[in-house]
Amino acid sequence: MALPLKYNFRNVFVRWRATLATVTGIALVVAVFVLVQSLAVGLEKASQNTGDPRNVMVARKGSTAESSSQVTREQSRNILYLPEIARDARGRPLVSADVVILVNLPRRDGTGEANVTVRGVTPMGMDLRPQVTLTHGRWFNPGRREAVVSQKVARRFAHCDVGGRIRTGGTELTIVGWMDGDNSAFDSEVWMDADEARSAFDRDNYSSLLVRVADTNQMAALAKRIESDKRASLRAEPEIAYYSAQTRTAGPIRILGNFLATTMSIGAIFAAMNTMYASVGARTREIGTLRVLGYRRRSVLLGFIIEGVILAGLGGLLGCMLALPMHGYSTGTLSFDSFSEVVFQFRITPWLAAQGVIFAIAVGFLGSLLPAVRAARLPVISALKAV
């Protein structure tokens, strides 16, 4: 038979001075864990949230980034009239040949420069990516050195306000609008007219093709048809799969988060242990009394473990609350996939918060285990010791 929970709860609170530091400590550990992991989640979410289920991405086989992929004009012409590809009302195939260039731009806060992805798109390409909407200004005009910047990129790089001019190499682009990519990978891009991009950056070839299939069941057939041309050496895969595979940047962040969490939790376990040992020490007589009243050893053991878990669980909840204000905060770093700046948000998902609390509870469990064993081993007669 277990001790009543209110006994455990009240004991946690009655010793609040001693437990406060432990609870705060565990809270900070959990906050760090949740924040660092939320970066990894945010990065993954941004890439997973990209693409249309009806689209197929075609790029050069072996290339890991669109910017290092090349599709020749001849290859692109061959693909244009494949039977699986959908057509618009006027019978034109829904295919967009894009050119992707990395451009080094100065940061707005003057802390250096970073690569930004510039995508040359066709009007068809814009239709194929309905996630992207204009928020300020207007779209670029074909044949003009104009560009539309994702508003998240614009906030991070200099000269990106509407009306601003960005200079890169010998090229000057006028910013005519801001767009929003609905938390997708397009939030990290600058868009301009495809032909204009090819002439401004001296590119003969396209970087990739985005293709809409008429029937999603035919995706595999289309991919097979494109990849079967060994000479062209192209690879076709669903757009969604292409982007969601871009998770290399998140890896090291997860490792960092796990390293910090592990090391810090060792410290937190020591803290919990100390608090619980002190609690056991101070309540020696009380524990003996419970045993005299007929409570078994395992009830005492369980009682102290529950106390440790309550203590740590409180810390875990507090930690999640500390981390929560950062949810949705936009940040950026170098993507290992595209070798350019990727803008993303801290994402504290319910599952991540739950992981934080579970993590805290594990700390509480481990920290209270030995003190609880000690409490359970106390002889019954200790109830009579005047301390």
């Binding site: 001693a18 260039i101 990395l102 080094n104 190499g169 020591f270 950026g332």
Partner: protein
Amino acid sequence: MTIPAFIIKNALRNKRRAALSILSVAVSLFLLVTLQVALRELTLPPEDVGAALRVAVRNKISLANLLPARQLPIIERIPGVESVTPFTWFGGKYKNEEGMTFAQFAMDAKKLRKVFGEAKMSEEEYVAFENQRNACIIGRITAEKYRLKRGDRITLESTVYPVTMDFQIVGIYSGTVDDRNMLFHQEYLDEASGLPGMVGMWWMKVTSAEAMPKVIQRINDTFANTSAEVRAESERAFQLSFISMWGNIRILVTSVSSVVVFTLVLVSASTMSMAIRERFRELAILKALGFRRRELFAFILAESFGLAAVGGLIGIGSAYLLYTYGDISKLTSGVFVVFEVTPRILAFASLVAASLGILASLLPSLAAARMSVVEGLKTLD
């Protein structure tokens, strides 16, 4: 019995508590040293001996854009330039590994000794590298990681060029800060890719440090308003521009580290305060025996400081030993190379340990000063 003996006996009365306090301090300071060293390496990457005289030239648009090979004779004619080599990122995947663990660059083998003199190999290996078309050399770390030796053949599939190429290892170099890269002939790449005339970057050695700013200026001016504008910069500046690309992550790591350190300091301080609070009975007895407040403070401080000092010694010491004598590159699978625990970091960590000792004694001291003898004697464990 002496007073110090009394303090030591007291501190070890509850051995488990003393051990937990010391361990938690040790863990905190170990982590503190680790994060400080990691941050230092992230913000100030290690520098090669030859770096002071090297200049890197890339396409002004970005590193990902190539440069025309015809720029070479123009650069070579600039006064102050001693030797120039192309340096082209190959982005090859070795075997079926997902991530690349070492970088490969195509260059002019004959310029290796002049531009990257710190990469040491035997004369025989140098000659073999210069004369064999499909030859490559690899760094010691990569060679050890994949158990590669001279004469082995390796195949790499490029993620940048539409080619898969075979190489023969003719040399294994060491002596640079990060002996991991693989180097091979630019002509071999041109031939295989069928796209001659373009290179990734230019790397050069200048005649003197004084000449460097002028050389950089000349190169930038020479190609201004051409179809391929360039950005020339010192090796150091080039490295730092990489760090700038990390963006907010660096600030984030810094602030996370501060939180980490704060947490651990808080936890250790509370642990030690608790250890000292256990002494209240003794303190009350001492007070009853006629010890003054000042002496009680000294007792508390000595004990708290002692615990922090021992913990600090263990934490900082083990971090120092691990990072100085351990193979850090292997431990972090190549993310960190040098991981130097500098005297400044050692001093900072020791200072944190010392302040921890003082901080942890504050609350108990205050309480001890206020407590009456009777009350203290009543205090239950």
